[in-house]
């Protein structure tokens, strides 16, 4: 009998101990793993530059018609690597997990149509290289003409994007979002666009550049004239990686000066006019 009790006691103890150990993972310290020494020649020739990006964010980083990973940001990052003689390593990640990936050192930076506004203090930022306007996309001929017309309507948005943050609690357009009938949050814009086509939602809040890619020449969709918001894109680094950030900034200037940036931008007509680097 005594034996039984002891057994029960121990196994009960184990049951509680195990989740506690797992729980620690959630609230562990935020001591960061800095990759590479910060010495001057740490980023010399042959350095492996780990470009962290969302592979589902056309036209900045995506899979092209030939099945290759490309995009404005990918091409620009590759140009920077070529400039310094670095090895380019693609690190595609899930956008939701970008901060953990960056802090844990699986990548050197977040460079994937990454909005600065609202995150100014969270990262070490490179210079901004692109404007990014948030717009409302509707079907042509829709009764929605202004932002005010969205009252009571179903609006779709992709989670963790700047359009989403703008409409979410404490965002710039939180009040507007409150007038919506419903704000539908999708894991990706492709799904939202399919639902807009099918009439399940009335409008999509989206970055205009991503929206242009989504529409891709289809003529049945248009933006409202009123902008939802206006932001800038830059590259986000770990706060201690100032040496790397400086190097990237230098390279961006050099590539803007020799016309490389303009050349890469010309591959993506839908965002060309928004690229601010070298203008």
């Amino acid at each position: 009998m005594l034996n039984m009790n002891r057994r029960q006691f121990i196994s009960a103890g184990m049951l509680f101990a195990a989740p506690t150990v797992l729980g620690l993972v959630g609230c562990g310290g935020s001591s960061s793993a800095s990759s590479g020494a910060a010495s001057g020649d740490a980023y010399g020739e042959g350095y492996t530059f780990k470009h962290g990006f969302d592979q589902e964010y056309p036209p900045y980083s995506f899979i092209d018609d030939n099945g290759q990973t490309t995009g404005f940001d990918v091409e620009l990052a590759q140009a920077v690597c070529k400039h310094y003689g670095w090895e380019y390593q693609a690190v595609p990640f899930n956008w939701d997990a970008k901060d953990a990936e960056l802090q844990a050192g699986s990548c050197d930076c977040i460079w994937s149509g990454f909005t600065v506004n609202g995150r100014e203090d969270d990262y070490l930022w490179s210079k901004t290289y692109s404007d990014n306007v948030q717009m409302i996309l509707v079907k042509k001929g829709s009764e929605i003409k202004t932002l005010a017309d969205l009252a009571g309507k179903k609006v779709g948005v992709q989670t963790a994007t700047s359009a989403f943050q703008m409409l979410d609690a404490e965002g710039e357009q939180e009040e507007l979002a409150k007038t919506f009938g419903k704000l539908e949050v999708y894991p990706d814009y492709t799904t939202a666009f399919t639902e807009l086509k099918a009439g399940a939602i009335d409008a999509i809040a989206i970055d205009v550049t991503a929206g242009n890619h989504l529409i891709d020449g289809e003529t049945d969709y248009e933006y409202l004239a009123e902008e939802l918001g206006n932001e800038q894109y830059a590259i986000g680094f770990r706060k201690e990686d100032t040496a790397l950030c400086d190097k990237i900034n230098e390279a961006l200037d050099a590539l803007a000066a020799d016309g490389t940036v303009a050349e890469i931008a010309s591959h993506y007509p839908e965002i060309e006019e928004y690229i601010t680097l070298g203008k």
Partner: protein, 215 residues
């Protein structure tokens, strides 16, 4: 992007999915047996730890476990996880499936009547001989349908690797779908999983048949 390019791009992902599938089975099928035997151990502590392991693994989503294995080393110990993505993935899958297999094995082992153990003892078999020559062959036959179930689930569960952004067939389908604004990649992925499971079912049926030598 035409269908053939889409297919060839995704075929790389299919190989990766297949890799997860094979490595998980190779790791978890034997490990499950070890866990099942540990759960029947003479030592209270060993039994308790094993039960706790099974309870925690079965009680939490695999998706969450994958995140813990991948990001855990950083959040707990501040380690750099540069090349840890794939090992973490396999570790997560193997430990998860081993827990389920262990319970299937245990069910099989406990379904053998005590009389058989007594008979073996009378005939002078050692414990190891009893288990290996009398019990295990019957256990394997009995648990085949449950194992097949688990293996089929595993084929589909490989898609959970997308949580760690591992570029297997489902991740690629999502990404190609995003860039091409097309649903086709998901159709291809669906066909891939279906065909893979069709093959698994066929193979497992053959194995079951080959073991039905007393019927």
């Amino acid at each position: 992007m035409d269908i053939s390019t889409m297919f060839s791009t995704m075929s790389v992902g299919m190989l990766r999915s297949f890799g997860i599938f094979v490595l998980t089975l190779v790791g978890s099928l034997p490990l499950g047996m070890v866990v099942a035997l540990l759960k029947k151990s003479r030592f209270v502590v060993v039994r308790a730890i094993t039960s706790a392991y099974i309870t925690v693994i079965r009680g939490t989503p695999l998706m969450l476990q994958l995140l813990v294995w991948y990001f855990g080393p950083f959040y707990l110990f501040g380690m750099n996880i540069g090349n840890w993505r794939f090992p973490a993935l396999i570790l997560g899958f193997v430990l998860n499936y081993a827990a389920y297999f262990a319970e299937i094995y245990r069910g099989g082992i406990e379904s053998i009547p005590v009389g058989q153990y007594e008979a073996c003892e009378v005939l002078g078999y050692t414990k190891t001989q009893t288990f290996m020559r009398v019990i295990l062959p019957q256990v394997i036959k009995r648990i085949m349908p449950s194992v097949t179930n688990e293996v089929i689930t595993l084929v589909k569960d490989t898609s959970l690797a997308f949580t760690l952004a591992y570029q297997e067939v489902f991740s690629l389908a999502k990404q190609i779908s995003a860039s091409q604004t097309s649903f086709m990649p998901f159709v291809i992925a669906g066909i891939f999983y279906f065909v893979a499971n069709y093959i698994v079912e066929f193979v497992m049926k053959r194995i079951e048949k080959s073991m039905g030598y007393y019927k």
